[in-house]
Point group: C3
Chain length 274, copies 3
Amino acid sequence: MRDSRSFVSLATDFGAAYTAICAGVVSTIAPAANVLVLSDEITPFAVREGAMLLRQALPYMPAGVHVGIVDPGVGTPRLPVAIETGRGDVLVGPDNGLLVPAAAGLGGVVRAHALENPAYRLPAVSTSFHGRDIFSPAAAHLATGLDVADLGPAVEPLPLDVPSAVARDGELTVPVLYTDRFGSLVLGGEPADLAAAFGPLPYGTPLDVAWTDPAPGSARVTFEETFGGVSPGAPLVWVDSSGWLGLAVNQGSAAEVLGLAGVETVVLRRPSAR
Amino acid sequence: MRDSRSFVSLATDFGAAYTAICAGVVSTIAPAANVLVLSDEITPFAVREGAMLLRQALPYMPAGVHVGIVDPGVGTPRLPVAIETGRGDVLVGPDNGLLVPAAAGLGGVVRAHALENPAYRLPAVSTSFHGRDIFSPAAAHLATGLDVADLGPAVEPLPLDVPSAVARDGELTVPVLYTDRFGSLVLGGEPADLAAAFGPLPYGTPLDVAWTDPAPGSARVTFEETFGGVSPGAPLVWVDSSGWLGLAVNQGSAAEVLGLAGVETVVLRRPSAR
Amino acid sequence: MRDSRSFVSLATDFGAAYTAICAGVVSTIAPAANVLVLSDEITPFAVREGAMLLRQALPYMPAGVHVGIVDPGVGTPRLPVAIETGRGDVLVGPDNGLLVPAAAGLGGVVRAHALENPAYRLPAVSTSFHGRDIFSPAAAHLATGLDVADLGPAVEPLPLDVPSAVARDGELTVPVLYTDRFGSLVLGGEPADLAAAFGPLPYGTPLDVAWTDPAPGSARVTFEETFGGVSPGAPLVWVDSSGWLGLAVNQGSAAEVLGLAGVETVVLRRPSAR
């Protein structure tokens, strides 16, 4: 049973207005809920970016109901789901993998149910705005105490498809997960991947970063604990606040300075001794 | 009489910071109010876009006080108004037509009063920021229970000037109302206009869309119930979640893919049998 | 002692998601706090722009805890601070001058303390996200009633370095502080500076505005009380709602129309009588 002032977060690729409509639906059904827009500016249709955001952010939210909507399949038969986590949250959104990494970070999936019960949808369900008509009403009813199982049949959530980092001796190939607002790249690898490729890596060690697509390029960077470890304008590899590897420029945009727009994979190497 | 936790929404063309200043003014005067930023990113000075947003969004908000500000005339003698609706909301903003379509969708205008009583303004009223100095204080006092009539003299709100769809036999001319964040065009017509031009129109029917300004162009599209009715990258005409006609591209931007930037009117036709 | 529903505002250069993570941390520690995002779109690393925003906005917020984060020095030894003001607010952020002009406008600095007590930080403090790990927890604990002095040792906040307006006879040189979302320039001068340069200046007086960097340019403008004093598309100098001088175009963007992108200083003169 939730208390009378439940916490509901919303993360979408809708922009301000459509996300606020969802917030309005939540407040209409659950007037005492504390509603926070976690993001309304996920890149449209970028399921992986949204999943990384939820995985990163939700551990810092109060336990509550968290709506995540990046839904290229709206209007097709993909399921809407609610996923209860070990921490006691319920994650609500499309069953396209978006919610699953976040659930893993909140104690794992306890149970998941499809949002099929018409009692917990708006009376008229459109084909293009399930955020308003299906996800937000479900979240609001959950915030007022509804049990997840009352929403519909139990389902097994689909996983998110994310490429893995590949560590070979002296070389780490990592996917670029997304580029943040500062132009810093978040890489799909963790400190353990660095260690697998290079062994213990002291701060201050130089690394070469190379890429081939959409055009070949490379840069000499430094592995650092903080941005302040390099001069303004200089690039670094560091471990970001969520434990992901990052490629950044101190007080600048790595995407712009290094010419990384559109790059999907980078390779890190120790500079040769020559 | 409103309850102690009233709902106040804000929709402006101010950006985040100036809109938040308005929210701060509301919370200072009405600390118990639940304040939601419905939008802070309406295109600057786009009264029609703002009006369409309010018309679309407010039915999904709790009954409450809704501030809408797109105000090219700030600093001129246009009136600030509060409009009480049949549903029990009060809409607050400039008397330039912005609020009127939304009021019509909330049970109609019950009464409207100019915001003239200095007791419900900030002590110093600037010439350029009526959102902060006039509209937000009025909204906050309304949220704490003030009667609309205490704000000032009764007025008749000015209508919004929107062009109408024109249906001729086999042809529908519709204005483009605005382009949303996904690059989809919202058209100033409804399903009844489609029926007037074409009779019953089954999903899957092809249509030709043509425009002449700012440069001539045309596209073959399909009338569909959902985005998923066409392949990714393919265009469609559909009825959006507010009942307006829309011109979109599945998982893409119609404005970009079809070259519709700056287009203000489109003509829909049945493809000729040739 | 604060009441049980304290007000916490957040102003950052983080974008929506990272700012919402801060809001989530506040709500986790202080569930009853009313949390407002004042801005999540300050230009990255623009300390002066952030300082002007806080100075302008905070007087309109309820007295409370106000977090401001524009922090090019994150990860370096600069101090995190909390500044208590004469009005009873506490401002929380990096000790880089960002908070000081706002504190001056809220009754001045009463006392300031460094955020060093680990009891009021998150258990693990990252090197790159002090907003989440240091500033937000401190703000939340202050919102629940913590005394500023419990956060750490007393400090003297560093001032913000802002260039001054220079008035000579018949000429006023003023820095451009920032360009707002409408393309209007906020200038680092006040009506008193105008008077020092020109004596009493009636509305309607023409002025010449000139600049040399990054490319020479000039424009004839009018000093007006309101935007409506000039025709749509025409430029004006006016006093904005915070008492700063501004350079704007009625219903347009001064930055675009006059070609002012990148201009850091302008000179105002009375047109010569020739």
